[in-house]
Amino acid sequence: MTSNTISEDDLYRTTSQYRLWSFSPEALASRRRGTHELALQRAWQHAPTSDGASDGAARGSSVDCLTVGEELRLVQRYCNQIRTTSDHFQWPVQVKATAVQYLRRFYLSNSCLTYPPKDIYKTVLFLACKTEATHMTLSEYARRISTDPDAVLAPEYKVMQALRFTLDVRQPYRGLKGVLMELLNMANGMVGEVIDAETRGAKELQASLLDLAKPSSDAKTPWKAPATGSVDVKHLTDRINAAYSAARTILDGPALLTDAYFLYTPSQILLAALQLADEPLSSFYLTTKLPISSDVRPKILATISTCADLLFSFSDAVIISKEERARLEEKLELCRDPSTRDLVQAHAAAMRGSDEDDEAKARKRKAAREKSRQEGEDLFGPRLNGVGAGGG
């Protein structure tokens, strides 16, 4: 703590998103495998044992269970459902992004076999609405999604537990907005220097922006260079705005529907989105931040590129259809864990339990113990010294 300043990197490393929810692709895959296998064990345990077989694994293998891949596709489908529901309510984008990550995080330690996503997604969306300071009462929410309010609340603690009680989701939206503002300022000749990185003057920066290569034909930006004549500041402004909204579309779709948040930081994600939107523009932006001579430059660029590949590989066609969803959910029914079938009732029972304070319970237990000891003494005389009753 005696060192002079903390960098933004240091700050990011203290976040729960980094501490608990960042993975290598391999670690992520094995985590999901582990969760899936655990869920299979659970489901088999509860399967009827009329044949007296206790070897769950043998029995389970005969049932056609949802695979890890199928679970993932089902979860992805419900991530998409969260997006459309949140957009329908016109909630701020943070609610949507947070809710989607809650659902994805939930299914790292839980399987669809135990908690089908159609039960969970409404809960995480309501929870995200609360943590992102958007107000809607439960009754209104439940009414608008035509669900029983109790069904929304029932898995809430389960969700909190699966989230390891960390609720903050770091997002790339504000960072992207910052890039937009910086680029617009540069385009208008208002920024000349960036501490430690960029030393060209404002005019020179503006000139190199005007001279920038055109976006390639597969770029996501709709902007096209003027057919005739050179690019002026007006064109440039349009180009920057178009790149921003194309990148923003990527953040709203592919970034939420892939593992991007588990594998990359918010700034890596937004720079990757910008790269897909308008590569020359994003490279230019990076040169103003990262001198060509910087040692870490190749590493950072490589990371952004792999993130861009991930986002690029996604298309809406990957999301399973309604029919496919129905098919998977039917299949799920055959191998699902029966013990978590009635969440509403389980929740109600737990809530009743909570009325009774732990302490009160302890007092009761003690009283009962005391009473039975007394009675015991009455019957058999006082306890012999050193021979413990061992009760409790």
């Binding site: 969760t35 330690s109 009680f165 737990a350």
Partner: protein, 405 residues
């Protein structure tokens, strides 16, 4: 060299996780062997492991909102904590887990700073109660210290030390994009070493994006800045700085600076006009366009520096200058937390007191119990006898006000 946030972060798996959160078994995750009858899912296993680390001790306090217990580590009884067990209130039917609890958990999980109360862990119990394992702060709070005019004396150097710790905590919240929105002396708890810790994040929120409205009905009324009385829906870190200014003045004068009685908003505005000056277009461009802008008809000019100095002479000229700049009416002209930290006050004489020299008898461990069981936005109960509530009339549920109507 410019550090980019994109540096040295994943794809590597995080090297360091929080000490108090056990790692998931191992990364290849061979499923746990079946023990007894039920296999718990991974999340439940982790939750249970966390819970079993602590031994709950005696109850330190009980309030409408939470119970607080002392606790220690099973593996090392010398390490003590306070466990705040959140009660399930009547609003659970309409909201589920309350906004206050969610905010507190969300923000404390992210904030790791020597002057902010540390959240070591959270676990749930079978009956679905949330338990927050917090840093144990046995020396009470700053309010008790301020109010104990007979038993406790402190110096301007002590005030400087406390304010510096407070401002560092607030600055840290702000650079993390978090507004605390309930800074007041009884949310400043005193640690065993005499340092102070900002607590109670039940009203905190992330800074909003431009144009996204926020509630103005927040911050305990005596510490609430004028822009919120005028119903500004877009505001920023300046709201916390005003509260800090009010705490600063209270530390010096040993009485609440804006102690409106009865505690109505109109009385508060009147008091602010009397003590600072009437907010007008001249000293605060745009103020008259705020929806709730109402001031007493008699315009009171901004209070000149000499008058501030007369009331707060003890803190010195530089200190008075800082105080005025934190209690500036126009939030845009008010100092930011960083601006406060850059003020010459901290480096001028006297030097802030060393931790070991600070008075630290702000009540005992029961005070922590009491502080942690309160709901945000409430005024504390009186220190005196008779248990008369200091803020009964305003103990309203602040943030729900708007939407439950």
């Amino acid at each position: 060299m410019l550090k980019s946030p994109a540096l040295d972060v994943p794809p590597e798996p995080p090297a360091k996780r929080r000490k108090t959160s056990p790692e998931p078994e191992s990364d290849d995750n061979t499923p746990a062997p079946i023990i007894n009858s039920t296999v718990k899912d991974l999340a439940a296993q982790l939750d249970e492991a966390e819970r079993k680390k602590y031994v709950k001790g005696r109850k330190l306090g009980s309030g409408q909102y939470a119970d607080v217990f002392s606790a220690h580590l099973l593996s090392d009884p010398k390490q003590v904590f306070a466990i705040k067990k959140i009660k399930i209130g009547p609003e659970v039917k309409e909201f589920g887990i309350s906004y206050d609890s969610l905010r507190e958990i969300r923000f404390l999980q992210e904030l790791n700073h020597p002057n902010i109360i540390k959240l070591h862990a959270v676990f749930s119990t079978k009956s679905q109660n949330l338990n927050l394992v917090l840093e144990y702060l046995p020396q009470g709070d700053l309010l008790r210290l301020i109010q104990d005019t007979k038993g406790t004396t402190y110096t301007p150097a002590d005030i400087k030390a406390w304010m510096l710790m407070l401002m560092r905590a607030v600055h840290f919240c702000h650079v993390n994009g978090i507004l605390h929105r309930d800074i007041k002396p009884n949310n400043l708890l005193i640690a065993a070493d005499g340092s102070i810790k900002l607590a109670d994040f039940g009203l905190a929120r992330a800074m909003a994006d431009p144009f996204q409205p926020m509630t103005y009905n927040t911050i305990t009324i005596w510490y609430r800045p004028p822009e919120l009385f005028f119903q500004a829906q877009h505001y920023g870190d300046a709201v916390d700085v005003w509260s800090c200014g009010a705490v600063f003045a209270e530390l010096i004068g040993r009485e609440v600076l804006f102690r409106a009685w009865p505690e109505t908003e109109i009385n508060m505005v009147r008091l602010i006009c009397e003590k600072v000056g009437t907010p007008t277009e001249d000293n605060w461009p745009g103020v008259s366009k705020l929806r709730g802008y109402v001031t007493p008809s008699e315009i009171i000019p901004l209070r000149p520096k000499e008058q501030w100095s007369a009331s707060f002479r003890a803190i010195g000229e530089v200190g008075v200058d800082l105080l005025m700049k934190t209690l500036t009416l126009d939030p845009r002209q008010r100092l930011t937390a960083e601006g406060v930290l850059r003020h010459p006050f901290w480096t001028s004489e006297p030097r802030p007191s060393k931790l070991r020299d600070l008075p630290r008898r702000g009540g005992g461990k029961e005070t922590m119990g009491e502080d942690l069981t309160q709901r945000g936005g409430e005024l504390p109960t009186a220190n005196g006898e008779g248990g008369k509530k200091r803020g009964d009339k305003v103990a309203k549920k602040l943030d729900f006000g708007i939407m439950t109507k």
